[in-house]
Symmetry: C2
Subunit: 503 residues, 2 copies
């Protein structure tokens, strides 16, 4: 049966090569996609070819590329390789695009994901010329069945001058009913409360709306999503997870949290997946997730019943995870809900629901500042993503990482982070395989003692303590967060010079 049953939009079916003729130099283009799910599969390649051709002719041709979050090699990757992008927002994890950003060839606006849709609508990013959105199907009345991510699709479709739709036959037609698209958003001063009080509550409709007059092309595709393979937890991740679980037990026992916890958010990556794996098989049951990505670990929890249900904006499943999901898709219906990222990450909702936020980090400093984005102060890794949306507004936040990186050459705990994404005011709990530092209600002095004792790798512990003590001694009148400014970033400098943070 056809996936395009709307007569008007049926007339617009064409090829990707034709479709990209509607995209011109300096256009801002809004892609669907959040992690390697639901991004357009054929327009990026066709556009890259068109731009490569233009470059061969000596013409200038670059676009501004906006997405939900990261995409995949066949979207970000091919456009990066074609040197087709001038500006990129709000999040990237593609290695080629990252290389261009760090080479200064692509302007990157690394933004809180909950801010991206509204900042576009506020007019802060300029005009959106074209939206390119993957969908699962187009219904007779022109409504769109979304794909495996929602991201910023609603905003891009509402505000773009022109729209290109990719209808992907690879996506299961049964995705219809997995989405809840909120259409109550407005510009100030016309905003209303978002009347969501439970993670799985429906506040919208299962479809994306589109003005058919704006649709300039519809393309049929049959291409898989692409996400990174799922690594089973290693010893380090399992140790981190064990510390988190022990702490959650402690909080429940102290009466500070219900036995089925509060809605959990789990960032992308293997450490976060390990925490989920740790929850599986624990005494915790009937949990709910209010998160931005459903990784393989969450499927396990849904299968075992540890997790009752999950609200998200995207799937971030491995190939194996996709197969599992697809082969039993009806069993997940009603237990998984995909929303726009302005809703999945909304400060109002994250705070109201009392989310428990668990996110990875690159490094933390002795006073509890966290760097989630930059390597040695200068190079971007991926971006802040939703970590700030969740951490700032959470009931409780965890920042997780092994205590060392680069085979032990780099300490995750440093005197001063080389870039701050989450300030000392925003960080509750830091966890490494060494242990957990509960920083709630502590002064910077006490935070430093606890982070060093509980989280730093033993090989770096003495040097950190020594720094802390000398900074204290050097500043008899400035002991709130005493620093030796000439030395604060010297660990990073030393790494850049010698490949080792330690002496």
């Amino acid at each position: 049966m056809s996936r395009i049953t709307c007569p008007i939009l049926r007339t617009k079916v064409t090829t990707a090569e034709e479709a990209v003729l509607t995209i011109g130099p300096a256009d801002n283009v809004g892609f669907s996609g959040f992690t390697g799910a639901g991004y357009p599969k054929v327009v990026p390649r066709a556009l890259a070819d068109r731009i490569t051709e233009a470059h061969r002719r000596g013409d200038e041709f670059k676009i501004g590329l906006w997405t939900g979050a990261s995409t995949a090699p066949d979207a970000d990757g091919v456009l990066a390789e074609a040197r087709a992008v001038s500006t990129r927002l709000p999040y990237n994890s593609d290695p080629t695009m990252r290389r261009l950003i760090n080479a200064g060839e692509v302007d990157y606006v690394d933004a809180h994901l909950s801010h991206s849709a509204q900042h576009m609508w506020f007019g802060f990013y300029g005009n959106l010329d074209v939206a390119v959105v993957e969908v699962t199907a187009i219904l007779p009345d022109g409504k769109l069945v979304p794909s495996t991510s929602v991201g910023n699709n609603k905003t891009w479709l509402d505000h773009a001058d022109r729209v290109i739709l990719e209808v992907n036959h690879w996506q299961p037609r049964e995705l219809e009913g997995f989405h809840d698209i909120y259409y109550g958003a407005a510009l100030p001063p016309h905003r209303r409360p978002i009347e969501l009080t439970e993670p799985m509550q429906r506040i919208g409709e299962p479809y994306l709306r589109i003005d058919p007059a704006k649709v300039v092309a519809v393309i049929e595709t049959d291409h898989p999503d692409r996400n990174a393979p799922f690594a089973p937890p290693d010893e380090t991740s399992a140790a981190i997870a064990a510390h988190v679980l022990e702490f959650l037990r402690h909080e429940v026992a102290a009466g500070r949290m219900p036995p089925s916890l509060l809605p959990i958010q789990s960032g992308v990556g293997n450490v976060a997946n390990a925490v989920l794996a740790g929850l599986d098989g624990s005494e915790f049951t009937d949990l709910v997730a209010f998160t931005e990505v459903i990784q393989d670990g969450m499927l396990d929890l849904l299968d075992s019943g540890t997790l009752r249900a999950a609200s998200s904006t995207s799937f971030g499943l491995s190939d194996e995870g996709v197969q599992r999901f697809m082969s039993d898709i009806d069993a997940y219906k009603g237990r998984i809900l995909l929303r726009s990222e302005e809703i999945s990450n909304h400060p109002e909702l994250v705070r109201r629901l009392g989310v428990i936020a668990m996110n990875g980090m690159i490094e933390a400093d002795i006073y509890g500042n966290v760097n989630s984005t930059h390597i040695m102060g200068s190079a971007i890794m991926n971006g802040i993503g939703g970590s700030g949306d969740f951490a700032r507004n959470a009931f409780l936040n965890f920042f997780l990482s092994p205590s060392t990186a680069k085979r032990g050459a780099v300490s995750t705990i440093v005197p001063m982070v080389s870039h701050v994404d989450h300030t000392e005011h925003d960080v509750n709990i830091i966890v490494t395989e060494q242990g957990l530092a509960d920083l709630r209600g502590l002064s910077p002095h006490d935070r430093a003692q606890r982070v060093i004792a509980n989280c730093a790798h033993p090989r770096f512990r003495d040097a950190l303590l020594d720094y802390t003590e000398r900074a204290w001694a050097a500043h008899p009148h400035a002991r709130h967060t005493p620093h030796l400014l000439g030395e604060a970033l010297s660990w990073h400098e030393r790494y850049l010079e010698t490949g080792q943070m330690g002496t």
Copy 2:
């Protein structure tokens, strides 16, 4: 007429000296007070005396001191002088207390004001033993007419084991009706939307509730609030204000903001007051404030009609401002509403209303990170206060400061801030008397160019550009926020060594 018309509470009237006998060593004590308004006037001194006496006997006696925000010399000050405080939260601006914090003698937990009430309720700060709250009057049914600030009073009264009330006859009895105390707050998972859609909407009741059984003492006082005098705008502040106004005009003309703007928030201080003064006499009218402090500048706007009304959690008026307010108090009723700081600063409401946030700063760096709290990386100035609540969730935020400090020895724009309170992801607009840098939608590279060109003092501009260019050149593969780590904090180091940032 008596201010205490509740028969039960009438029986508890006593002296401050008797009252403080209910406060013991290591107690956590929650004071009313936000800026120099509505703080307890006589218990702090009596408590300081009791503790001084204990210290003379060689006994250990310190308390944890929690407030709404800053208080005044006769609250924070006297307790600091008596070495009576072990822990202080969530905000302080008292110079003696600051000195002890920076000497490492007082543990200071510098917290987002919107977090302080809920973190207490979550149990993150431990048990609250005693609340000491100034009120204007006690009604026959035991309800309390709040004073000139609300702050965290509702939370302290609800959760303290014991309560001491100060009924201050100096406060105008006509304050009844100026307050809106929200009693819909709950712990997750029981939270509901806060149904406020307009800054002046009432969502609570005009009174604070109290369980009379918890009240251990009622004290009658007759003491003035104490706030810093109001300085008329100097040339520098006026220039900053002019840049802000020009920008607001530009945004209105571009259709990104309504002609009567969006609700404004204005931080404490002379620069913020200057912006208010600039709005007065401009073409802007019918404005509304959704803010945390009503300074003298706001009274002017209310008097002239530029400001229709203001929602706040506190007054921060000079002596002269107090006289003006008191002498015409009925004219302000219905145009000023005081709320709990968990409401005045609530992320949900700040984002929904689309607040325009204007706050001072200590320094900003070339990439747009802002330091609001620390001097040269180590010493605390005051604290983050509400600046993060407002800036992160605002429709638009401004950070304002003269381009130099210490008679020109210190540049407000630096290569790297020595402490981060507002990350590059959170900062929209930086303004000095030199000009305004609109950072929305810009990459770090472009932000640096604009901040240096528009905001830095000409005397520091070349050195900043030189740093930026050398950092770029040094990092061909790390040009997102390129830094020279050995030099990034050298301006601060040089100041500490020579008293000058410049060479």
